[in-house]
Amino acid sequence: MLNRHLYILCATLFFAGLGLFLYKAVYLGFPLMPGQKTDVWEVEVKINFSASGRPVKALLYVPRTSADFSIINENFISKGYGISISTVDGNRQVAWSIRNARGQQTLYYHATIEKMVTGEPPATSKNVKLVPSEYEGADLEAATAILLEAKQKSADKITLVMQLIDIIESPANNDNLSLLLGENPSQQRKIETIIRILSLDEIPARLVHGLHISEQYGKSSPVSWLEVHVDEKWMGVEPVTRQTGKLSDYLVLWKGIDRMVNLTGGENLNVAINIKQSNVESITAASTREKSIHPTFWRHSLSNLPLDTQRVYSILLTVPVGVFLLVLLRNIIGIKTFGTFMPILIAMSFRETQLISGLILFTILISAGLAIRFYLEKLKLLLVPRLASVLIIVILLMLLMSILSHNLGIESGLSVALFPMVIITMTIERMSIVWEERGPSEAINQGIGSLATASIAFLIMSLGHVEHLVTVFPEVLFILLSLTMLLGRYSGYRLLEIHRFKALVSK
């Protein structure tokens, strides 16, 4: 009777969920796979220097919205500095200034940029001024010789530039070249030389600096290339990769022979650039897509909620997936964990820390907390004040870890603050009690069980497909609910239990 009731309920939920899911997927054509991730990048420039009490002015070239890149968001982070942004000769420059600064100074520029896929040709520009080469005497003769050599082997302006690059990059000893370039020329010097040679043929060209926005993560440094004016358009030529045309992977920072950062009043300048592709799927893009296809359905769906709320739900809706997994691991496999839902909360915090660093941080935090908890045991404190003390210590430990890892330059250490501290406190308390009552092996066993469960839950919950599925089709939660309820009447053995009772079979 009981079971029949349950089966009917579960079947109803299951088919209701499945039906709605199929209706949306097949009839309304909601996408089953996550859409293309929009190309959003985080660019961070960190400027470090030491100041000695004099007025400081730091100038930094920053990107501007162009046909290829649009700046979604920009931040200038500094302590006590005045900030002004100006446009000089088509370059955008931010100026940080302060009357009096002393000691180590750090300035941040942070931008979120989106790569546009336009496919349009570069914009036309007329009336381009030719900058004279200013070569004289022997230099002029050497430059003319190189130009003639290149011209003979080329057909048009672009191939001429390529030939010039070939000549300049060729390892063969060329007297004309060494006269113009000097010893160990920099990339910028080479490009400048090409521009000057080109101006002898009355071809306008200019030096451009920027960042290569690629799939790579992490540290980056500015690269230089040149732009040649061809058919009233600026065409880019990258001297290293030999890429020509519209260099759509290159984010322009500034044009001309200037340096990226100009600092007055400070010393020991150090510039670090970090580029990271942003993982966030553009929910805005997804919802506008749905909105245009199915106006009525859209009005009652998740994508009609404010963006912030949507973001919360995109995380929240993966929790049932994790919880379902937890039921499987605990009731079917028989893994022991501290607290029922603790692994899920830990898994959620792994979203911010990432798995490996999350595991390391968590283990360090729990071990340190446990050591202190064992010391507190000697003081014979009452339960609630003791728990409160452990909580305070956990927060202090988190702070300490953040500061330490930040000083060591490990950014992931900062995210330790996202761990659920109350859960950690309770874990430490339970673990120390299990440790004393049931022995260290049992405590460590359960600790490993909890972490393993959290890791698996994190890996499943953070799958792009899973997140997409539950946010676009929240009705799959009905299916999940029905399965979870069915598992609630699973009376078979747990996998680890079979191992426990194995001795009884061998009889």
Partner: protein
Amino acid sequence: MFGLAKKLSGIGIMGINKRNCDYTLVYNPRKYYPLVDDKLRTKQLAIDAGIAVPELYGVIEIEHQIRELPEFLKKYSDFVLKPAQGTGGDGIEIIVGKVKSLYRKSNGHLVTEEQLQHHVSNILNGLFSLGGHVDKAIIEYRVKFDPVFDAISYQGVPDIRIIVFMGFPVMAMLRLPTQMSSGKANLHKGAIGVGIDIATGRTLNAVLKNDVITEHPDTRNPVTGLEIPKWEELLMIAAKCYELTSLGYLGVDIVLDRVKGPLVLEMNARPGLNIQIANHMGFLHRLEFIQANAIRLGSVFDRVAFSRKMLSRVH
């Protein structure tokens, strides 16, 4: 793996999901749990029904009373201190004597008044209770166990766990404390579990953790083939607990005191599954046999007689 599971179910081994799903959730109504989860209520229930229990010396309910503890304990040279709602034997302190102002625990260690008071405070704050809510501390008579167990127990008190299903004793086990279990009678702590023949009260197989043994590891005396005294009486007491608690699936823990005879220590609405390992036998066939054949039998005497007569044949 599936082959193993099939074999286990073939010999009637009950898993934890089976126990929860088809027995405790079905036969044990939630509202009766407090009767057995709170040892004070269990005690009162047993006394009202004329079942002997260890004498209650006192109860500590609020932090303030802890200060009067040493004064209160002056009257007693030995006693047991335990949480009213403890689980798995956690938080139980057995004091066997006093040395000046110090208390001697059953394992020979001495504790100070302050340590004892801190322990009581931990109990009151719910450290050992299910779900961590506020608890009471019980001070009661320390059982002096029957001399029959002298040779096979190390510190602590051996007890007899009898599983009672719908009032029928189904399976029984003798739990012997060892050095490893530090005098506690809980199998997960390293106590020995010895299966008992329901019909005769004679001990059968013994297990320590998951290993089959024949002698006590500390005293080196055989633990099998031992006759438990007053077996009929023990079974009657256990069977009677069904009417007391209305719990269909129940574990009853009884000790044999050398003077006062069988005393009910506590009852458990979610008894563990290790008793199957100790008896080298699964529950399920017996439970199903009772469900099929004897559910109508009324009196305690009839039920015990049925169990003794029939169950030994069911494997």
